[in-house]
Point group: C2
Chain length 561, copies 2
């Protein structure tokens, strides 16, 4: 273990790294130079149309996790470290990750590009504006809302009811003041007053559409299908009705090309798109994952939140939108998270507590069982922290063996996958990829949305049943009447619990999940089921990460982590 | 004259152009490869710190215009065409231009990169997201407002009065619905309700600061000085008080590097920054102009609106912020604009009318006189349109000769400067550059702001006097008391008239200019004097240009112009 990792910030580690020119990374990955659009020396956009197909396509390793805790499970760190370790083992590996959202970077996180010695770089670029994809999505979203309000102002030919507009403005910022606003004030020449609000960009349906579209033509068609609101006589109004899908697609024409960067160990990584994992499906663009399969023999990708949310959506939504079904699943667990699910409060997670550890395995066991419902057997990755003892890690590996589940410790934060920190995990994953996969979706599409939700809630969450509010029941009827009953469902639920109550840790039973409302996302092509409150615009904390950020006169950044 | 130009859209012309790799353009301009950060093949950011100084610095040619009319004077087209013609004549020429704002591109304009055979390319990139500079400025602006509202929400240690916040949010969009809004609604956890509004990004003080800063350190210092509002006891609150100038500068660290592109004729062009020409100073970044002087023997740059606004600000604000004072001035005039100033309505500008033409020269004459007040003698560029007759153009050149002013017709739209359309103009400009320049500012800084405004209004606008409203008089006292009386002034006035009444065309006399309010821009370092209504957030027209925009499945754009 490198002691330096304890003392050194992620930004410092990443800045000390000697990066290879991105042209070298691309060449080694078999990406032809004419497919590259350079953004400086260490970033490039790739035009997938200019990358030749191979006779085989890479296998997909999906990295997911047990139910997350505020302690943090390091899923991106494991994804990067595993990719590096697979590359070190000789496999032609490509990593596919989401882009960080600037709002949380300026708020709590300070960065979202892995950590320690398992990072994608250049981290300061990726964490800030990167190649501008999120800005393009923000712009497309707000061009749509400006054109929509302008339509109403200029005579409202379509008869749009300003009280029934469902499509909101967005900003890639944590800005609670914009959650509920009134716009169009100031008199007749300033627009039409109405209630509105901003979501964070990653919550935009355009972000979801962007990440599910297979190419530019599919993107335009999905954008055209987005419902923006309803007319006075309750008919849905789409982007196609407004006639602006061409302009929106034009605004996204460069953004849809995946971004190539590298890990600290020089493994190629496609970092592209980043939809919310609650009201959307929470993984990088399918264009990037498909491109990764075209050039790599193994693709390591990641899904947001725990396996009950991210992995389920990957299997039932993403894997239906494109040919990206997983061949293996890695389930990240940590000693600290297990203890917390076993009842230990957050400030005492560093103390050894085998009783709590054992109790906490109930959460892990349910996630393992859930993965099996998709025909896959996971590899448990025990992401080790400096506060873990060797006895605890050994105990957990032993427990996994007793459950008949492959498992390995991953020391990739302190000791990158390019060194030896991910060797054991990589070996287990390579074994898992040798086994025949029997992937299938959890539910068929041709059952009603209500049944799909019930299946997820019972089979994945372990609930007794689902209860729909009156508005949700009305929505179910509208969905049926509108011919949308064959869409998959996208659950918006707290990530901290299998239930819809964030305080029920471990593996709760005997509970009912309450669906308070449903949102039809006709562009993305799924129905969001809202359980509990879902935050679509975060706020800044009392001491935002931005307060610590700075840049020297020579351009050297500080305060990113 | 190429007949094709009549029939072909700007986008089609630009797409048919065979661009050189931007690395070739840079090499020819003497910009070392290590200073380049490529953004695809045809765009690059330049790090000025890595460009070696020469023993001489390029001379600056400022392109400005007579009072604009809705017919359009083609100032950018002349700037590009002149640059090409100077390069064709053998001069080592670099063009420096503003970046287009996306809002007007989606609204009326469809594009802002010159026209016909005098364009900077790739026009679709420059007109859309380009290298992301405006997105970075938008983000820095809205990070500041989010941090400001968060400060109030989290306890308001500084005692900021939510009713006295002067710094607004921005969006690079024409969105009238956001001009007047109420934010922070929804209850105690959603922020503090207050009146707010969005300006378009080019109206942000951060844009002005960005374009006046000489380097990253100067940028941070100027950002720190920005006033965001006032406390309950009326003390100003600055970015430095909030402690976030480091984060804002970090968000702008790449954006401050000028962007290199090329003209259709292959002349290097630095396209960087773009502040409003009313509430700000209306020209590209001084970092870009200084870099252009470092590498080029002649720099052709442009100032927004007519010479009474853009040129005056260039001389009195921009030329004080950096070493970019003009060595020659080109004053763009058109037959159509002269007729309009001579009393012809817009729909009859294509008909020959020598009486109106003669009457309209009153406007041109006053601009010529004004340029002389800065110690410079302009070259009049008659930008020819296909509706002009040869007799009209000859008459105007004759008139200029009679006034003792250098003049040439510029046919650069139909017949680019790389061909022969700008030869005559380039010859006159080269002659003008041989003459000794005696540049000086209009007013010294050590007279009160009130006197500076009076000087501009009398000497440049031709008004009898200036009248200050009661709020403006109060502001003048605050400016004096705050020690800001030594700042230059930035007039916000209609561009259509020398007066503050847009309908008074030609060269009005016997009028008074009414200053209704003053805005102290402590970061940009000027005092904005508001005359009449100033629009800081445009609206979309009934048929926005966005409705015509599209992109084919292979990425080919259409509908930009």
């Amino acid at each position: 273990m490198r002691a330096a990792a304890d003392m050194t910030s992620d930004l410092e580690i990443s800045r000390r790294a000697v990066m290879k020119p991105i042209t070298d990374i691309a060449r080694a990955a078999g990406i032809p130079e004419e497919a590259l659009e350079l953004y400086g020396r260490y970033k490039a956009k790739i035009d997938p149309a200019l990358v030749p197909a191979r006779s085989t396509r890479g296998k997909v390793v999906l990295v997911t996790a047990m139910s997350p805790t505020p302690a943090g499970e390091g899923k991106s760190t494991v994804t990067v470290g595993l990719g590096d370790a697979l590359a070190k083992a000789g496999a032609n590996t490509v990593i596919a990750l989401r882009e960080p959202s600037l709002g949380p970077v300026l708020g709590m996180k300070g960065g979202a590009t892995g950590g320690g010695w398992s990072q994608v770089v250049p981290m300061e670029d990726i964490n800030l504006h990167f190649t501008g994809d999120f800005h393009a999505i923000t712009t497309a979203n707000n061009a749509l809302t400006a054109l929509l309000d302008n339509h109403i102002y200029q005579g409202n030919e379509l008869g749009i009811d300003p009280r029934r507009i469902t499509f909101r403005r967005v900003m890639d910022m944590n800005d609670r003041s914009l959650r509920d606003i009134v716009i169009g004030l100031g008199g007749p020449v300033q627009g039409v007053p109405r209630q509105d609000g901003f979501d964070i960009t990653v919550a935009s349906e355009i972000m979801a559409v962007f990440c599910l579209a297979r190419d530019l033509a599919d993107l335009k068609e999905r954008l055209a299908r987005i419902t923006v609101g309803y007319t006075y006589d309750r008919r849905p109004v789409t982007v196609r009705d407004l006639g602006v899908e061409g302009a929106l697609t034009l605004l996204l024409k460069d953004a849809v090309k995946p971004n190539l960067v590298q890990t600290l160990a020089g493994t190629p990584a496609l970092v592209h798109g980043g939809p919310f994992a609650n009201i959307a499906h929470g993984c990088n663009s399918v264009i990037a994952t498909e491109l990764a399969r075209t050039v790599g023999d193994i693709v390591v990708t990641e899904a947001g939140f725990g396996a009950d949310l991210g992995a389920e959506k990957y299997m039932d939504i993403t894997s239906r939108a494109a040919d990206v079904a997983p061949d293996a699943v890695v389930l990240v667990a940590t000693i600290r998270a297990l203890k917390m699910h076993g009842g230990v409060p957050k400030d005492r997670l560093s103390e050894p507590d085998f009783a709590a550890l054992e109790a906490g395995t109930a959460n892990l066991r349910r996630h393992i069982r859930n993965i099996a419902r998709f025909g896959l057997s996971p590899v448990v990755a025990v992401n080790t922290f400096t506060t873990d003892t060797q006895e605890e890690v050994d105990w957990l590996l032993q427990w996994c063996a007793g459950e008949g589940v492959a498992a390995a410790a991953a020391d990739v934060w302190a000791n990158g996958g390019g060194e030896s920190g991910g060797d054991a995990l990589a070996a287990k994953v390579l074994e898992a990829l040798e086994e025949p996969a029997d992937f299938h979706h959890l539910y068929p599409l041709d059952v009603p949305v209500e049944e799909k939700i019930r299946t997820v809630v019972r089979d994945i969450y372990g609930a007794d049943d689902v209860e729909f509010s009156l508005p949700a029941l009305r929505r179910l009827e509208e969905i049926k009447a509108g011919g949308w009953d064959s869409l998959p469902v996208c659950m918006a639920k707290t990530q901290y619990s299998f239930s819809d109550n964030a305080d029920l840790l471990g593996a709760p039973t005997g509970f009912t999940v309450h669906v308070r409302d449903l949102i039809l996302k006709t562009g993305a092509g799924f129905v969001v089921a809202l359980t509990g409150a879902v935050m679509t615009m975060p706020g800044l904390p009392k001491a935002p990460a931005a307060m610590r950020m700075d840049v020297a006169a020579d351009g050297t950044p500080s305060g990113l982590s």
